[in-house]
């Protein structure tokens, strides 16, 4: 199974041996704990639930998690198996095939070691929120002329439909509105650096979201081929 949870750190450039420059996004990923295995028998689908970011207890020794989350991480099945999980801030699931699930056990840790340089990955993040954005920014509409007698219409959307027939604006017409702050997947990014010592990954290209944003990293869905 190739999946891990991380946070975007930032971007930089690295050099290849022959001097080519590669833009990379640095991600602090893992270590993640397998907190639960979802099976068709119990849950109706197959997946692994990973936990990320250990939370230290409060100064008075109490947990920072709410009781339902605490209960989930310290549930009886785990205790019976002798598995102790730390408090984890983030829990996310990754869908799996049966083969992929076979090698996994609850309580196991997953680190960046799961990935190799050259692997293709898909990265899911939450894009930066743009607020209420106009049609030029949101839908790549063209700007209207600044001159030739125009005034105050440079970034106006223009026509949103015909006249008496149909007498209304069609549903789905692209207009201004909230933009960004939504789940975005970038496919087939190439892993350039794996640094198990610092739990860092670097992938070629950009990754959705702001620095410090949560990202999910999975093996690429649409391409099985590896690139060097």
């Amino acid at each position: 199974m190739k999946g891990i949870i991380g946070r975007k750190v930032g971007m930089t450039q690295i050099f290849t041996e022959n001097g080519d420059v590669i833009p990379v996004t640095v991600i602090k990923a893992g270590p993640c704990y397998v907190t639960q295995l979802r099976t068709p028998e119990n849950d109706g689908y197959r997946a692994v639930q990973l936990g990320f970011e250990e939370l230290p207890p409060r100064r008075n020794g109490s947990s920072r998690l709410k009781q339902p989350q605490q209960g989930h991480l310290r549930r009886k099945e785990l205790r019976d198996k002798g598995i102790e999980l730390p408090d984890l801030r983030v829990l996310r699931e990754f869908r799996l095939t049966e083969d992929e699930q076979n090698g996994l056990e609850e309580g196991q840790t997953i680190t960046v070691d799961a990935f190799e340089v050259g692997d293709l990955v898909d990265i899911i993040g939450t894009s930066k929120g743009r607020g209420f954005a106009g049609t030029v920014k949101r839908h790549n509409f063209n700007r209207q002329p600044k001159t030739h007698g125009q005034s105050d219409r440079e970034r106006a959307p223009g026509s949103v439909g015909a006249s008496a027939f149909p007498g209304r604006t069609f549903k789905g017409t692209r207009m201004a509105g909230r933009m960004g702050n939504e789940r975005v997947t970038v496919q087939n990014l190439v892993v350039q650096v794996v640094d198990p010592e610092h739990n860092l990954l670097a992938v070629r290209g950009s990754v959705p979201g702001a620095r410090g944003g949560l990202v999910l990293i999975k093996a690429a869905k649409k391409s099985r081929q590896r690139q060097k």
Partner: protein
């Protein structure tokens, strides 16, 4: 968080290039690959601009090529394509970007040399 980016950038090996300053006369030894032959090209000139930025540090070298045409070339300081950087002399300059050198020719384009002992240790 950005300290983590630094960790990654620290993997770039320090190849002991001298520290550059604006106004330095330098020779940049550049590795050029032609087909499967490799040769070294030497680019002489004056450093007229430095950009910091960790791994992406760069500098621009200006020289007057044949027919009095000014040629500027920007290099990435950490690029493996740079074999060696020689500093021939330092000049007395009062600003960080020496763009005014672009408007100067001949004798006007001279800068006063600053002689320092072991400025680059």
């Amino acid at each position: 968080m950005t300290d983590l980016v630094k960790l990654l950038e620290d993997r770039t090996e320090d190849r002991g290039f001298p520290e550059l300053y604006p106004g330095d006369e330098v020779k940049v030894h550049l590795r050029i690959v032609e087909g499967n032959r490799e040769r070294i090209q030497i680019v002489p000139g004056m450093v007229i601009r430095l950009r910091k930025g960790g791994n992406n540090k760069s500098f621009t070298v200006r020289r007057i090529a044949s027919h009095g045409i000014g040629v500027e070339r920007t290099f990435l300081y950490n690029s493996p394509r740079i074999e060696k950087i020689e500093v021939l002399r330092h000049s007395k300059v009062r600003r960080a970007q020496l763009y005014y050198m672009r408007d100067r020719r001949g004798k006007k384009a001279r800068l006063k040399e600053v002689r320092t002992v072991n400025r680059n240790k």
